[in-house]
Amino acid sequence: MIALPGPPTVQLSNEYIGTLDAGGHCVLEMPSGTGKTVSLLSLIVAYQQYYPEHRKLIYCSRTMSEIEKALAELKSLMKYRADQLGRDEDFRGLGLTSRKNLCLHPSVKREKSGNVVDARCRSLTAGFMKEKKERGEDVELCIYHDNLDLLEPHNLIPPGVWTLDGMLRYGEQQKQCPYFTARRMMPFCNVIIYSYHYLLDPKIAERVSKELSKDCIVVFDEAHNIDNVCIESLSIDLTEDSLRKATRGANNLERKVTEMKSTDAKKLQNEYEKLVAGLREADKGRQEDAFMANPALPDDLLKEAVPGNIRRAEHFIAFLKRFVEYLKVQATHALRPLLSPSDSIQTRMKVLHVISETPPSFLQHLKDLTFIEKKPLRFCAERLTSLVRTLELTSIEDYQSLQEVATFATLVATYEQGFLLILEPYESETATVPNPVLHFTCLDAAIAIKPVFDRFSSVIITSGTISPLEMYPKMLGFATVVQESYTMTLARRSFLPMIVTRGSDQVAISSGFQIRNEPSVVRNYGNLVMEFSKLTPDGIVVFFPSYLYMESIISMWQGMGILDEVWKYKLILVETPDSQETSLALETYRTACCNGRGAVLLCVARGKVSEGIDFDHHYGRSVICIGVPFQYTESRILKARLEFLRENYRIRENDFLSFDAMRHAAQCLGRVLRGKDDYGIMVLADRRFQKKRTQLPKWIQQALLDSDTNLSTDMAVASAKKFLRTMAQPFHARDQEGISTWSLADLERHKEKIEEEKIRELQEARRNGARGGAVRDEFEDYEMEAVMMEIDT
């Protein structure tokens, strides 16, 4: 018996153990910052240890700090279990992150870029380098890696839970590489905690997660953005610069091949013979040191022989060159109108057009122009890997761009649906100098995650803000057995959500396109921020829908003297797209909150701050969400995705945009409440939130009183003041008992109650016959938003 942290967990365990037993996937929403991670971990570990199979747990999180946090929680959980059980269990829990974070090699670890670390590590650890050394050649190897071979392969590190920090320390002590220790120990772990990418990015998943058995329990934590992660992992951007680099890479390869032909032609001949037999055969030599992997190669491809016209190294290189040249033609094509000299500058700018194309039509034109067929294209990525391995190249960072091109080739020839090629003349929205980018964008989040659902019998997708739940199974293409949103039980009302729809002058406020820049609206927003900076102790976080809007509103506030007024009460700090500047601002913000000066942090709802950074306790007593954070709807990629969702999953454009905006808003709100003893005010400042509130997570909805959904600024201020007064009362940990933490007796009482309820339900069911399920209407708001009208124009 283990003590569980809180009531949601009990409900959870009842339903959830069933799913683990029966197999199936689920989506769970649990209030963030209230021990979600530890509840899930404790439950699954208890299940795991109870049954003799000891099913492995794979726990995926987003950032390195979240991974480290989860590891720490797992560690204390295991300690707790050991105390309760009176013995140490035979248990291993490890975390994995990139080489850059885990490298110990004195010079390699100092490299700034992760790619360079990977490349340099490979040159120090690759199998053929070792062979060279054994032949007596003078090559440098990494001692941390070599030492691993002296240990028992299944016992590289003692049992227990190792945080990343702990691994680094142990590695330094024993002079062994933490990265490879973790990689090699993965089959022997009970719990693995790593980043999403190790499962979702096909290029990495194939390498790292291939050996994990089918009965693993997979958890995606903080998964409200999982669809975007999936899409990004299969999308590729190619610029003219990267194409130029790819050409250079191809030329390098050509030189290397000629070299090898004169010195060691046998190796090339060997490779050729293997390729005749098929990729799988050629693949046998593939190991953890391999250069790169194939993206989502269908299985039949691996069994098939490589097409005859790319079997020979020189043929393949010529093939690649032709392909890259074709892409260059495409890229310059986007610039065409710019160069017609008769037009004036303005019209030239305007006629620069965006081209979008489906994979089949791309392939058709490719074939017409360069005689490149679809089939050899599909083999491109894998063929390149094989060649790089045969040539025993060490400086693989030179081939990064070429690899990207090859991956693109494979993807474009493999999937004809769910992808789109978009050629844009400008790299970003703000760029003025044309620099064409070829976006190969994945539109279907289900493609990347499908292997995960196919492979593992229990996948859990969870987050603090993952409403509406049914959106996720739809977008990711899977069926759930449990789909549940848990509310929070707290001893006191520890957060106050409010919707402010108008200013004190009764003028409606909104970031809608038509009125967002009207002085009355901007002034009202300014007053709201000003009032709250007066009444809130310590820190306030303000979120804007976009950088552009933030900039314009700040300059208007400057003119209205609002900033000066705020300045009297708080420091003002601003997030910028530059991450260094932002982290400096954050640091200053924290200092100001700690020393009592207090500060306002102005940031963007889709920026770095809104995702990864917590504002617990005095770091965030109020959060104000100015406007509904809709996406920039003019983006071609977004438009294509919206269309795809509508056509394939029957998700309407407005529904998706609204859902997406609300999940970001909820994510912003959740930033301030990070624990049971924390408290904070959440202000949603836009008229349109009133209708969208049903799309908020259940735990926020529950706390949002009807009377608080249509406030003016002065009403909100009064309400907030009252709330802060009650929060100022002393609060003891003891008060929580029986409400948000339970003793064993509480637990038993709860069980009885549940059982009684069940019996009653059954009786009722018998009396009534079958009861129809209640229809829920998640999307109340069908109103055409001003912002969204822009989509069609």
């Binding site: 050409t247 005749v276 098939e304 022989a305 490589v306 097409p307 005859g308 016209n309 079997r311 020979r312 020189e314 043929h315 010529a318 060159k321 032709r322 040249e325 074709y326 260059k328 033609v329 310059t332 094509h333 610039l335 065409r336 160069l339 000299p341 489906t358 089949p360 039509s361 392939l363 058709q364 034109h365 017409d368 122009l369 360069t370 005689f371 679809k374 089939k375 004809e416 649906q417 269309e643 509508r646 056509e647 029957r650 309407r652 454009e653 407005n654 229809v775 209407d777 069908y782 109103e783 055409m784 069609d792």
Partner: protein, 361 residues
């Protein structure tokens, strides 16, 4: 915009280092409209005005030092690829692909096909790199003359395929456009309906004498119903039925054989494949039977329409009709029925059925 044509030539970007005509040495800086042309004879690049100047009078030798090939004006064209080698390679490939256009389904095994591909590639490489050019060229022509019919057949096939693909893509684009339109319209309608509903409620509130709460509640209910109906209609497969082959037959490379048109549906056969064709005997026109002779000739008999052939056909049919029935099989088949193989079992089964019926009622 027709993509195929728009894709043809590509202007060079300003700032490229090779922006000086190697012949007249004028640069883009002086002449921003300068365009370069190449001739597939030697692929030496020169500007348009040079081409006009040198080759307008008829064929002339290439002005690039050491080249000396004779060039004609009409063969000059814009350069497609940045890399002139690739430009040349593609020209050669075009020639080779015209001749070697075998298809995978023409080969016994995939390995054979792959070997073929490799061989063609090697030939191409020979031409590209100037290895054994004359031998390769003669191989090419030899093959072309020997396999002329196959080559032209495959070329037609290829042409057809790409035409089909084009048509399909056009159809798909059109469908997508229609769907997009429909979605937009639906949204607009909904909005309009909602606005009207709202107006109605206001009217009722102003003029009617129902309690306000009732009016609002009623209108909400109506709206909910409407919305649900709309959702239901949306849930139905709204895809307009396009050409059936468009969606069911995606663009895969196994699809090489997919060009065969779907077999037309056979006419409906009410007998499910049973025919009255004789499979055990052939009916003769004449059977020797003395006692039938009278029936053939006696007008008393033939006057009524009696024909001997009719009689013979029936007699033969009856004699052979039992041959299609295999008693052994039928008995065995009966044994598979649930409940065993006897009359007693049949009774038991009937009883069971009766019991079941009673249980239901």
């Amino acid at each position: 915009m027709s993509k195929a044509t728009a894709r043809g030539g590509v202007p060079r970007r300003p700032g490229d280092e090779d922006d000086i005509c190697p012949v007249c040495k004028s640069s883009r800086y002086l002449n921003p409209n300068m365009r370069f042309l190449v001739n597939p004879e030697c692929y030496h690049k020169m500007c348009e005005s040079c081409v006009d100047r040198i080759f307008s009078q008829g064929p002339a030798p290439c002005p690039v030092a050491g080249c000396n090939r004779t060039l004609r004006k009409q063969r000059f064209r814009k350069q497609t690829f940045e890399d002139i080698q690739v430009e040349r390679e593609v020209d050669i490939r075009k020639r080779v692909a015209k001749v070697f256009n075998r298809r995978q389904d023409e080969f016994e095994t995939l390995d054979d096909y792959n070997d073929y591909l490799e061989e063609v590639e090697t030939l191409t490489f020979n031409l590209l790199n100037g290895v054994d050019v004359s031998a390769t060229e003669s191989k090419l022509t030899e093959y072309a003359t020997q396999n002329a019919s196959i080559i032209s057949r495959n070329a037609t096939l290829e042409h057809q395929e790409s035409a089909n693909l084009e048509a399909r893509q056009a159809a798909e684009r059109e469908e997508a456009r229609l769907r997009r339109e429909a979605a937009r319209k639906e949204e607009e309608d909904e909005k309009k309906a909602r606005e009207e509903g709202r107006k109605e409620v206001l009217e009722q509130l102003v003029h009617g004498n129902k309690p306000a709460a009732d009016v609002v509640k009623e209108s909400k209910r109506v709206e909910l119903l409407k919305r649900r109906r709309a959702q239901q209609s949306r849930a139905l497969p709204a895809l307009p039925s396009g050409t059936p082959s468009a969606n069911s037959n995606p663009f895969t490379f196994k699809g090489l054989k997919s060009t065969a048109a779907p077999t037309p549906e056979k006419p409906y056969d009410p007998f499910g494949g049973l025919t009255d064709e004789r499979s055990y005997y052939t009916l003769q026109d004449y059977y020797e039977h003395p006692w039938l002779d009278r029936a053939r000739t006696d007008t008393h008999i033939t006057a009524g329409g009696y024909t001997v052939t009719e009689y013979c056909a029936r007699a033969m049919f009856e004699a052979f009709s039992g041959l299609g029935v295999f008693v052994g099989e039928e008995v065995a088949g009966r044994g598979d029925l649930p409940g065993g193989n006897g009359a007693g079992d049949a009774v038991a089964a009937a009883e069971a059925a009766a019991r079941a019926e009673k249980g239901v009622s």
